[in-house]
């Protein structure tokens, strides 16, 4: 990375638009989950404005659904904070994994492109950078697509929700899982990577079963990272 290819760190309108279009097909499915959230939140008695405001400002799918599970006349502040933090903790990892590229940007751009970081656009962006292609357009443009469809979906759910009460019957609950798996399978494959994946999978499962809820992503990713640091001696740089 010392011989910097400046094209890699570019971020302009056409790259953002291209990122938007590339993530748009997946984002359409995200609309359905936005709608499911809108409907569920309405049934819990949240006001229309606060439901849409939450999707727009927090933009964190799983954490928003988890909040609804805790919803009552009152919510314990500490439990709510801890749940939201644990579920959102994977964003910390995403920021860290993108840092070798993000550090080339000015601080304003660096934190700006992370505003809408989410599973799908992060995965696309990582894959682009690993393949020597510019990824910030995917991160920001893709994030805009995901955000736009998530918020529109929430709005649809609040006003016309009853049409989409069972997205899992159509297999829609598997969109993100299948997407992330496709990204993983499409990435680098080597015996060393296989060992890393195995360690990550096993430790995330152990955390899933025996450690507090929502700790599995953090535990699995850190364990995989550590094995990757000590395992294998060959120099495999991109």
């Amino acid at each position: 990375m010392t011989t910097a290819n400046t094209g890699l760190y570019q971020l302009d309108g056409s790259l953002i638009w291209s990122g938007f279009r590339q993530l748009a097909p997946i984002s359409v499915f995200v609309t359905v989950f936005g709608a499911a959230f809108g409907l569920a939140a309405k049934q819990k008695g949240l006001s229309d404005t606060s439901i849409i405001a939450m999707s727009a400002l927090a933009f964190s799918g799983y954490a928003q659904f988890a909040l609804l599970e805790q919803w009552g006349a009152q919510i314990p502040l500490f439990a709510m904070l801890m749940t939201a933090l644990a579920i959102n903790a994977r964003h910390l990892l995403m920021g860290a994994t993108l840092y070798p590229w993000l550090c080339r940007l000015t601080p304003a751009k660096r934190y700006g492109v992370m505003l809408l970081a989410s599973d799908a656009n992060w995965a696309m962006s990582m894959r682009a950078f690993s393949g020597g292609r510019p990824g910030f357009g995917l991160l920001l443009g893709g994030g805009l697509a995901l955000w736009f469809f998530w918020v529109s979906g929430t709005w649809l759910g609040v006003y016309f929700g009853n049409a989409i009460s069972h997205p899992e019957r159509l297999g829609l609950d598997m969109v993100m899982g299948c997407f992330l798996l496709a990204m993983a399978v499409g990435g680098e494959k080597s015996p060393r990577m296989l060992i890393i994946w195995l360690v990550a999978a096993l430790s995330s499962l152990l955390a899933y079963w025996y450690l507090p809820d929502n700790s599995h992503v953090l535990v699995g990713a850190l364990a995989g990272g550590m094995i990757g640091t000590v395992w294998g001696t060959h120099d495999h740089e991109h």
């Binding site: 606060s50 899992e168 159509l170 609950d173 990550a200 499962l205 899933y208 599995h216 364990a223």
Partner: protein, 102 residues
């Protein structure tokens, strides 16, 4: 301490959720700015980026229903054969829908 889920309480909850999400989106980047990026750190980051995906997926496959497992398997097979994400994702979802229909 409890928050009321009416009026300003709801507003506070929305703001807290937004701030937590923002803090995690920015936090990883901020913390990394104190870490010198050397060879070992690069290897750690590279291994971790694949591991995040696997750590998200493993419990989905193991703790999910059969439809979830078939969906993931279908996606993996199509991705290996065609190397195109969209048909792979579509195939996975169709597989899950078919499994749940019967």
């Amino acid at each position: 301490m409890n928050i009321e889920t009416t009026g300003t309480g709801t507003l506070a909850i929305v703001l807290i959720m937004a701030l937590v999400a923002l803090a995690t989106r920015w936090g990883g980047v901020y913390l990394m700015s104190f870490v010198p990026i050397n060879y070992r750190v690069k290897r750690f980051i590279q291994a971790m980026s694949g591991s995040v995906l696997v750590a998200l997926l493993a419990p989905m496959a193991v703790a999910g229903d059969n439809a979830a497992r078939v969906a993931l398997l279908t996606t993996a097979v199509i991705m290996l054969l065609l190397k195109k994400p969209l048909p792979a994702i579509a195939g996975g979802m169709v597989a899950a829908a078919v499994m749940r229909y019967f």
